[in-house]
């Protein structure tokens, strides 16, 4: 069944305050961390690029918070700081990778959002879009062969741009054929770098594609935390229960450029003033306060706490050693050749 915005509030769950509070705190920590990354970039402290998830925190964090670290697997993409944080990635992984600390998971060998901890079920993305879809399928497939798949779910996110790739199609189709418990969240932020939806796909809503793959499809307002929590929660539940792959299309707007090198000046004002142009954090605060899930003072305290935590993570990563080309192990293989005959 297709679940659209109109009937998104399925099950009328009394969204556990705990979940919303946890999810919101991940959103907040991600936003504050990313604001810091932006200023570090502008101060010349970060080389390469900085890619932010501003405007996508609600959908990303609800996905991350719906997964169970150590059991589920999650392949985040470019704008998933909130999802990573909600899934359990420590902030220091982020600052270390952006600032090139050798103590980070990528040890200066890769940077920014190209990081992960595959051993904890969170693979490191590559830049080639759609590529993580079959990868997550493979992780789930392996769990099935090992007999550990029961009750597990695997998730990945893509943007509207990635839905045009062969890898996305191949991966989703394969996951459907293999009936894997996979959730693919499509964050339709209306722009792939500078390319608008009108030059990316021709269907009315990307969720229409779910029917083609024979998988569950959901469409949700990505700026609405409670809606996201409800829809993503349901998609994850269905996948976990053996319902096969689920696709969630979240409608929102990227509140910035493609990266911090890009001012996003091509985003028209009409999109910014549109419903989806609103800031999901502000919406979430209102929802939390109005729903009685949190009080303003509490949220302010969370903000202060997150700011301090971010400051600590930045300071620590900045003080740590950077890679030394003379001591680098320049080996792309774990095997050390020559091997000797046994």
């Amino acid at each position: 069944m297709l679940i659209t915005e109109e009937n998104a509030y399925i099950n009328e769950v009394s969204h556990e305050g705990d979940f919303l509070r946890r999810t919101f705190r991940a959103m907040l920590r991600a936003r504050i961390l990313e604001n810091k990354l932006s200023s570090l970039y502008k101060a010349g402290k970060i080389v390469g690029g900085v890619y932010l998830g501003k405007g996508q925190e609600a959908i990303s964090a609800t996905l991350g918070a719906s997964l169970i670290q150590g059991k589920d697997c999650f392949a985040p993409l470019i704008r998933d700081q909130a999802g990573r944080t909600a899934f359990g990635e420590p902030l220091i992984d982020c600052t270390r990778t952006y600032l090139g600390s050798v103590k980070g998971p990528m040890r200066g060998r890769d940077g920014n959002i190209h990081r992960g901890r595959p051993e904890m079920g969170m693979p490191a993305m590559i830049s080639h879009l759609g590529a993580q879809v079959p990868l997550i399928a493979g992780m789930l497939f392996a769990k099935r062969l090992k007999g550990t798949l029961d009750g597990c779910v695997g998730a990945t996110t893509v943007g509207d741009g990635a839905t045009s790739t062969g890898a996305f199609h191949e991966g989703l189709n394969m996951a459907a054929v293999e009936k894997l418990p996979m959730v693919v969240v499509v964050a339709n932020n209306q722009f792939a770098y500078s390319t608008p939806n009108s030059r990316q796909f021709a269907c009315a809503d990307l969720v229409e594609r779910a029917a083609g793959y024979g998988i569950g499809g959901f469409s949700v307002d990505g700026t609405d935390l409670i809606a996201c929590a409800s829809v993503v929660g349901e998609a994850v539940r269905r996948a976990r229960a053996g319902g096969g792959p689920q696709m969630v299309v979240a409608h929102l707007l990227r509140l910035g450029g493609h990266g911090e090198h890009d001012d996003g000046s091509y985003v028209p004002d009409s999109a910014k003033h549109d419903h989806y142009g609103r800031d999901c954090i502000e919406v979430a605060i209102q929802q939390l306060v109005e729903g009685g899930y949190a009080i303003v003072e509490e949220i302010t305290a969370w903000q202060d706490e997150a700011s301090e935590e971010v400051q600590r993570a930045v300071a620590q990563a900045q003080q740590e050693p950077v890679p030394d080309p003379y001591r680098e192990d320049w080996s792309a293989l774990s095997t050390r050749f020559p091997l000797h005959a046994q």
């Binding site: 998971p105 990528m106 040890r107 060998r109 890769d110 190209h114 992960g116 901890r117 595959p118 051993e119 693979p123 490191a124 590559i126 830049s127 080639h128 590529a131 993580q132 879809v133 079959p134 990868l135 997550i136 399928a137 493979g138 992780m139 789930l140 497939f141 392996a142 769990k143 062969l145 090992k146 062969g166 890898a167 191949e170 991966g171 189709n173 394969m174 054929v177 080996s331 792309a332 293989l333 774990s334 095997t335 050749f337 020559p338 091997l339 000797h340 005959a341 046994q342």
Partner: protein
């Protein structure tokens, strides 16, 4: 039929691996009950239920899935129906699998079987030799067995390696090449062997061209030339020690390959020998490859496109007369 063919060896290696290692599974197109386009997996689906899977025609996703499974501790063997189609999976192989260990510290033990090389009538899209392309990328092991025993042992060893392996099996050898039995071969991956000893010139080659080189060497024997043939076995890592030792004996080098002539394995061999063994050379090192066109369909064109014993003899005579 007595004896073991090259493809029997590949099938048996997979059988051994499935039997001995629960982490191994096979994933590919038409490989389950059908037994594969070349019957390299014949009977394995029956013998090993839920270990051998047919998959959609999605080469990209096949490798993506394999990488994901490897992260979860499995040792998948992916059969590309033809090496040529691995171009669809190129991104996942060179960007996902090959970079993974260097980036994250976690190696990806997948083995990608590439039915490679030309056979008469196969044409441009079922005849390619991709070893040079994959060898170019850091993070991949590329093996090119030329014998029945190597086909068996190197596939077993490939799956045992913790790193991604591109296993290039030559389609022409599948049923053409036979041995009495699979011999226990002590040579590990990364070590070349001397397929035929000689003292006047060295041919460094791999895969099916080993046999063409040996045939050419046999012909030149009649003229009193003793040609040494080095079978690389794996093109990456490249066993430069064995190559240089051979060139030290002969002073002359012909690098021979079936792939396209621009760059590639033969160019790398010549570059390496020139860098490290210039003082060993009595003549400029030579290369012999296929022609710089797509692989043609018609058997007559195909036979003239790839190196043959005749063209290898010509190249060697030119090298010897320098």
């Amino acid at each position: 039929m007595s004896g073991v063919t090259y493809i029997d060896a590949i099938r048996e290696a997979q059988e051994t691996l499935l039997r001995e290692d629960p982490r191994v599974f096979l994933y590919g197109q038409d490989i389950s009950n059908f037994g594969g386009a070349f019957k390299a997996t014949k009977g394995l689906a029956e013998a090993f239920p839920n270990r051998v899977f047919d998959c959609p025609i999605s080469e990209d996703a096949m490798i993506g899935l394999a990488v994901g499974a490897a992260i979860e501790g499995m040792r998948p063997i992916i059969e590309m129906q033809f090496a040529d189609f691995s171009s669809i999976a190129f991104n996942q192989i060179v960007n996902q699998a090959a970079t993974h260990y260097y980036r994250t510290g976690m190696p990806i033990p997948i083995t990608v079987r590439l039915p490679s090389g030309g056979t008469p009538g196969s044409g441009p899209f079922h005849s390619q030799s991709m070893e040079g392309i994959y060898a170019h990328y850091p993070g991949l092991v590329v093996v090119t067995p030329a014998t029945v025993s190597d086909a068996y042992h190197m596939l077993v060893d490939s799956v045992k390696l913790d790193d991604p392996v591109i296993y290039c099996e030559h389609k022409f050898l599948y049923r053409w090449l036979k041995a009495k039995s699979i011999k226990g071969d002590g040579l590990p991956i990364g070590q070349a062997r001397i397929a035929r000893p000689g003292k006047h010139a060295t041919v460094v080659t791999y895969s099916a061209m080993v046999h063409e080189a040996v045939r050419a060497a046999d012909r030149l024997q009649a003229d009193g030339w003793e040609i040494e043939v080095v079978d690389l076995r794996s093109v990456k890592p490249l066993d430069l020690d064995t190559i240089l030792a051979s060139v030290a004996r002969t002073g002359r080098l012909l690098a021979l390959g079936e792939a396209f002539p621009w760059g590639g394995v033969t160019a790398e061999i010549v570059a390496k020998v020139t860098e490290e063994g210039f003082h060993l050379l009595d003549a400029p090192p030579q290369r012999l490859n296929a022609r710089d066109t797509p692989v043609p369909y018609h058997p007559k064109l195909w036979a003239a496109h790839r190196p043959t014993p005749e063209s290898i003899c010509d190249a060697l005579r030119k090298l010897l007369s320098f």
